[in-house]
């Protein structure tokens, strides 16, 4: 029991509010945000370290004991994800200053950013289902603010679809919570898990679980619910795309990992087998989507989807290797998606177009950008020894263990397609004859460095897997045994 658990939510909330007051002074608010996000990252790292060393920290807000009040549960999984989110956030804040226009910075970009981080952290940390809904709304509302920032015609059009679909799924979310409350009489996740276990997930519970899955799957962009994603992720500014690509869908995945390893684990031959099918389709359709377009931003946006498939595969396997693979892949994917959106933002900025048939030979002018992209492409495709590889070993191993050979083949096949989609960008945009750029050389240092900073983590997650993997192993172990979570919340 310690107030530390809620700090990762509170700091960005306060920062976001403070940033409102001097939003007109771009330089000040920019500096403030940069400093504060670094401080927050430091704090979060420290708390994360404590959690990894000493175990889960819980906080009963307002002193109302579980299961009655809202419980914040900073367990290793949540903290790892909070840390990763903050690393990405920090890089994005530094990227924002050159990527956004002054007007956009003035109109509350930093406030929305901080509240997004706050909402995302809250969603990771909360142990209460309705509170999860509230944090979902916080992060969604912040994302609405971010997606309309700039107010271009196309942007508003896609934002509209984005808001409408999310509104629909939010309403489905509260309704589902109500159903669940009616059956088990509680909204504390640990207690829900406990009570669902007592009645062995009979009757209507599995159906309610599936509804909940669909709510998260809509946010998490799982087949067949991802339609809203690609276009709405490419219309805002690249820094916003990076935040979305890295954080938003992953919150959905995290929620699925949480609920379907903790609560709904008693009918796996229905629910989790279905996930395996959906995982396969998600990978295939996502990879196909990534090959379907010449718009470089859209290629990256589509590439979010097969990665989600990989993570869902691990959840569907529900084994030590599968879950560890999902979590590892989650960490990897958050970072690499941010990197790619940031790099592509820079590419589009220097090329003045996002159509890859209209670019060539960019590497002659911007070698650093080109090689960063190449490295990022390898990381994304899961080439060893980078971060995607570790997750892939675990997932493939988990698949083989359970005889899911077809799924393994589909997964590896989609990796090849992903690589092809990335190489299309590299070969068409960066390779080729040198030609004069319209607009001349532009300074892009402030674009490339934040991306390079993140890419270091991608490489470290692979080469230095020994520093991270043992924790992921423990996390997977804990996830497999719901009683650990339940006890840590209910028996203080």
């Amino acid at each position: 029991m310690s107030n530390l658990a809620i700090i990762p939510i509170i700091i960005p909330l306060l920062c976001g509010i403070i940033a409102i007051f001097f939003h007109k002074y771009v330089k000040a608010v920019r500096l403030f945000s940069q400093v504060m996000s670094i401080i927050n990252l430091g704090v979060v790292l420290w708390i994360g370290w404590l959690v990894l060393q000493n175990g889960t920290i819980t906080l009963a807000t307002g002193g109302w004991e579980a299961p009655y009040g809202i419980i914040i549960v900073a367990d290793p999984l949540a903290m790892l994800l909070v840390i990763t989110s903050n690393i990405i956030g920090t890089a994005c804040v530094f990227y924002a200053q050159s990527s956004l226009s002054k007007k956009q910075e003035q109109f509350y970009f930093y406030t929305f950013y901080f509240l997004l981080i706050s909402g995302v952290s809250g969603a990771f940390l909360t142990g209460d289902l309705f509170n999860l809904f509230v944090f979902y709304e916080v992060l969604l509302m912040a994302s609405y603010g971010l997606i309309v920032l700039g107010g271009e015609r196309i942007q508003l059009r896609e934002s509209l679809k984005y808001v409408l679909l999310n509104l629909f799924s939010s309403m489905l979310f509260v309704t589902t919570i109500a159903y669940l409350y009616s059956v088990v009489g509680t909204i504390n996740m640990a207690q829900i898990a406990d009570r669902v276990q007592q009645v062995d997930q009979t009757g209507i519970l599995t159906t309610i679980g599936m509804l909940l899955f669909f709510v998260f799957a809509t946010k998490g962009a799982i087949f067949p619910l991802y339609y809203w994603l690609p276009k709405s992720y490419i219309v805002p500014n690249p820094v916003v795309s990076a935040l979305f690509g890295a954080l938003l869908t992953k919150v959905g995945i995290y929620s699925i990992i949480r609920t379907f390893s903790l609560i709904f684990v008693h009918e796996t031959n229905i629910t989790h087998d279905l996930f395996l099918w959906l995982a396969g389709f998600t990978m295939v359709f996502g990879a196909i989507g990534a090959l379907s377009t010449n718009n470089v931003k859209l290629i990256i946006a589509y590439n979010i989807i097969p990665a989600v498939g990989f993570m869902l595969m691990g959840i569907g396997l529900l084994s030590q290797d599968g879950l560890a693979g999902s979590v590892y892949y989650l960490l990897h994917d958050m970072i690499i998606k941010a990197v790619l959106f940031l790099l592509i933002g820079a590419l589009v900025y220097v090329a003045g177009t996002s159509d890859l048939t209209k670019m060539k030979g960019i590497i002659h002018h911007y070698p650093f950008l080109g090689w960063l992209f190449f490295l990022a492409a390898l990381v994304l495709a899961g080439i060893p020894p980078f971060s995607g590889f570790i997750g892939k070993i675990l997932l493939i191993q988990g698949g083989v263990e359970q005889g899911q050979i077809m799924l393994v083949v589909v997964g590896l096949g989609s990796s090849l397609l992903i690589l092809l989609s990335m190489m299309r960008i590299f070969m068409r945009c960066f390779w080729g004859e040198k030609e004069e750029l319209n607009g001349g050389l532009k300074p892009i240092r402030s674009f490339t460095w934040p991306a390079a900073f993140l890419l270091i983590f991608s490489v470290l997650l692979g080469v230095g897997a020994e520093w991270v993997y043992p924790y992921v192993e423990i996390i997977a172990n804990d996830l497999l045994d719901p009683s650990i979570y339940i006890d840590s919340v209910l028996k203080e």
Binding site: F133, G151, I154, R157, L160, L167, S170, M171, A178, S182
Partner: protein, 112 residues
């Protein structure tokens, strides 16, 4: 009674979804509003209806209705109010900028 209310909420969902599937922006927004009403009614129904006094403690009353769903609805109402307002302004802006309120004309194309 709960069954009747469930059916009513179901009707609200159905009409909401039907409106959501239309082309005109106004209808779509109305659809979302209906869905939120439906959702709130569902929450209320999921507590027991009319099984006691309003959850305001009064001496001598033993039976109260379930206060938690009410609290949840309240939070949800406020949140959906926020989202709906944003949606309305966004819809208005999107429609004027794109010069159409027909969602089917707001599909967008490959080459943008």
């Amino acid at each position: 009674m709960e069954i009747i209310m469930s059916v009513l909420a179901g009707i609200l969902f159905a009409t909401g979804v039907y409106n959501l599937l239309q082309k005109q922006l106004l209808r779509i927004v109305i659809g979302t509003a209906l869905i939120s009403h439906g959702a709130h009614l569902f929450i209320l129904t999921m507590g027991k209806l009319k099984t006691g006094a309003p959850p305001i403690l009064v001496k001598g009353v033993e039976q109260y209705t379930d206060p938690l769903p009410q609290a949840l609805i309240l939070t949800s109402i406020v949140i959906s109010f926020g989202v709906t307002s944003l949606l309305l302004v966004l819809a208005y802006r999107a429609a004027t900028l794109n010069k159409t309120d027909n969602m089917e004309e707001l599909r967008g194309s490959e080459d943008e």
